[in-house]
Amino acid sequence: MTTTATERELPVLLVEPPVSSFRRWLAPAAFLLFGLVDILVLGGYSHHGDAMFAFSAAGTKAGTLTLPARVTCYVCGGLTLALALVRAFVPMSVTLRRVAMGLVTFLFLVALLCWTDAGQAIPFYFTDLLQTTMITSIPIMLGALTGVVCSRSGIVNIGIEGQLLLGAFLAAIVTSGTGNLWLGLACGAIGGCLVGALLAVFSIAYGVDQVVLGVVLNTLILGLTDYMFDAVLSPHSTTLNSPNTFSAFKIPLLGDIPIIGPVFFNSNIFLYLTYIALFVVQVGLFATRWGLRTRAIGEHPTAADTVGIKVLAMRYRNVIVVGLLAGIGGAYLTIGSVGAFGEDMSSGFGYIALAAMIFGRYSPIGAISASLLFGFCFSLAQIMGSLNTPIQSNLLNMVPYVVTIVVLAGVVGKVRGPRAEGVPYVKA
């Protein structure tokens, strides 16, 4: 986008920022598309019958909402089309625009779920969906938080995948060997730190390109855990690869709230650790001296150095310590859910965490929201797969990746990372 002379001379006169005609029509066109999909595809092709939504845990009959599937799809589509018209011709503030976007997404989801469950005998367990979303997102959320702190310190961390994998591996093997879950959790966390330490040493001390290094570290950890799995874990699977897992515990009072309780406050330790991690990173980055310094060395290390911040020491410390979070995220994969370690069991969560970090604009809350969105897509795909819907779960699985590319391409807004991210700092 080139700035013309008028814009530069008369910035006060331009109340609205200049918007190209392409961008001007992008949102209404997208709304229109969603509305048409709601009506023509989801409404038109849905089975006859009602869609049932259960808002309590599976088994209980209370709180079931029954909607006529086809009509609901039409209504959702109609509302979306109306929103598209409003969006096209009525000037809106930023907040209103976001609300409109949220509404369109919500209506689309309602239509999609109606279409999924139309004519099915069993209701759609809405609480289950949200619960699965939270659980699926744990490794993504913790990985994304690790990525945020590393990026804010000026180090690109592509190695989140490796951190998750090593965390999962060590947690499984230590828990199984010693029988102590907490020791396993600690060792998993240290696994994340180890990979972080390799990343820090090679990128800071030896100046290896951080993107290259991250990919190589992931390959190394993948190869190493695969090898150890084949050589050690498989032959001794009863002693070394059959850990017990953390069981869920309900937080008193909070856990009894309908819908919210089971989703947020009735899970195992990992979800609660994620809350704490989010709080610590968010407050730490934006309200403490450490956070200010971390953001400084990520944006302008030379300036930070000038005022006496030890840039390299701080980068070392941040990258290594924050590896804890990804390590815990990895530990969740084994001792938090399935127990036994399997080859390549992080299965790309680290890369998704990276995408969530960028989508969340390098802020902890943003990264967590993006992780939850991605987790929601995966759990929806999983549940729809089990409901025998005609839609292909592979297509739904693609959504997070497509969304990330769309965000990166600047269609929804430009993401700008920390200025010095990935640039090795050499003291002048």
Partner: protein, 421 residues
């Protein structure tokens, strides 16, 4: 500074050249270091060795010998499975005459290991070039996998979906694979050129998108699924098979020649054409290149199109050379392996050829090694990653082996330009 260069004998010059820590020395030492670590890993995860260490104080030599034998045994078997095996030569010379040796397949069994190495090296070389070429233009292509899938889809479809005369069918499929990969690669270049989306994230995301897309195609009969329930494509026509180079008993096929030709093409493109000069210019310094009148965006698209085409060729070589059908996991680890090949080859076509042959040899030797020694074949992946990690950090190797630091010779210097650049 007209200092008189002291006359040195040849051996001394050679010694100094080695001690300077140039590219070749660092690479060789990196491989050596990785092999030492890999050896330790194999020795100390072997049950027999661990038991021997348990009684170390009663028979110390036994433990050390056993550890050494285990470690060195892995490398010997890898060598025999990938380069040549003395047993096959011994058998060859026990034959009565050359004609019986030829007829009974003893001669071809001598060349089987090296043929397998070339076969394994073919896709590694092509995908390695697909990383190395954009690397010279300052782009890091992690999307070898997505481009591979793009090529594989087109090549497979042309292989079973259309019927053509025998000779033409092969060529059309190979070219189709090339185009399929180029489209996916070009999309990355186009996104980067028009919107500035960082190619690393875009390629990672495209890897998953294409993998899901492939799974989608392979789950419907009216798309690409063969009759039955498995997510697998129909077999391609035998007309579209790549012909073997040395008869039916050796598996190496024309794909290997294609990959070598591709390496020569990339070398020619980079060093002998204006386009290649522009690629290297934007790789060194895009701003300076832009000032000098190079169209940076156009070159980004172009280099990604060519890279995608190379990865697509790799897919065609695999589908038409060995697999003959497409499965949901056929892309394997080509995308990541390509990065390691390109890094070991330092982004130069010649280097990529050697790197692909080395890793091809590791892959060719792994199954035999696993069945003979019992050490899991995944040790090869560990070796591969270790080699590349040490190659990427020349200062570490120089520090470990006390080499002199003179001319900087590292990958790091090429690419350390930051994330937002």
């Amino acid at each position: 500074m007209s200092e008189q260069v002291p006359h040195r004998p040849f051996w001394k010059k050679a010694l100094f050249a080695v001690m300077e820590g140039n590219v070749v020395t660092v690479t060789v030492l990196a491989i050596f270091t990785a092999m030492v670590i890999g050896g330790l890993l194999t020795a100390f995860t072997n049950t027999a060795v661990l038991n021997a260490w348990g009684v170390f104080f009663s028979s110390p030599w036994h433990a050390i010998n056993l550890a050494w034998d285990t470690a060195i045994g892995v490398y010997i078997e890898l060598f025999e499975g990938s380069i040549f095996s003395p047993h096959t030569i011994a058998q060859l010379f026990q034959q009565a005459s050359m004609s019986t040796a030829l007829h009974d397949g003893y001669l071809s069994s001598v060349f089987t290991p090296i043929s397998n190495t070339c076969l394994q090296a073919t896709p590694l070389l092509l995908t390695g070039l697909a990383v190395a070429l954009p690397y010279q233009a300052g782009l890091f292509n992690i999307g070898g996998e997505s481009q591979w899938i793009g090529g594989a889809i087109v090549a497979t479809y042309l292989g079973y979906g259309v019927s053509m005369p025998p000779g033409i069918h092969v060529i059309v499929c190979v070219l189709g694979g090339c185009v399929g990969g180029a489209v996916v690669g070009g999309a990355v270049g186009l996104l980067k050129a028009t919107t500035g989306a960082h190619e690393v994230i875009v390629t990672i995301m495209l890897n998953y998108i294409m993998a899901d897309f492939l799974a989608y195609l392979l789950s419907f009969h009216y798309l690409m699924q063969a009759p039955g329930v498995n997510p697998i494509s129909p077999n391609i026509d035998s007309d579209s098979y790549l012909p073997h180079l040395f008869g039916p008993s050796l598996y190496v096929n024309v794909g290997f020649l294609i990959s070598l030709a591709a390496a020569v093409f990339v070398w020619w493109l980079l060093t002998r054409t204006t386009t290649g000069f522009e690629f290297r210019a934007i790789g060194k310094n895009p701003s300076a290149a832009r000032v000098a009148g190079v169209n940076v965006e156009r070159n980004w698209v172009l280099v990604m199109v060519v890279a995608g085409g190379l990865a697509g060729l790799a897919a065609a070589a695999v589908i038409q050379g060995t697999d003959f059908q497409l499965t949901g996991t056929a892309y394997g680890t080509y995308g990541i392996d390509a990065i390691t090949v390109a890094l070991l080859g330092r982004g130069k076509p010649g280097g990529v050829v050697w790197a692909a042959l080395l890793f091809g040899a590791l892959y060719a030797g792994a199954p035999g090694m696993e069945s003979i020694t019992g050490t899991p074949g995944s040790i090869v992946d560990v070796l591969q990653a270790l080699i590349v990690m040490f190659v990427a950090a020349p200062p570490l190797i120089r520090a470990v082996y006390r080499l002199r630091t003179t001319r900087a010779a590292g990958v790091s210097q090429v690419l350390s330009k930051g994330w937002n650049a």
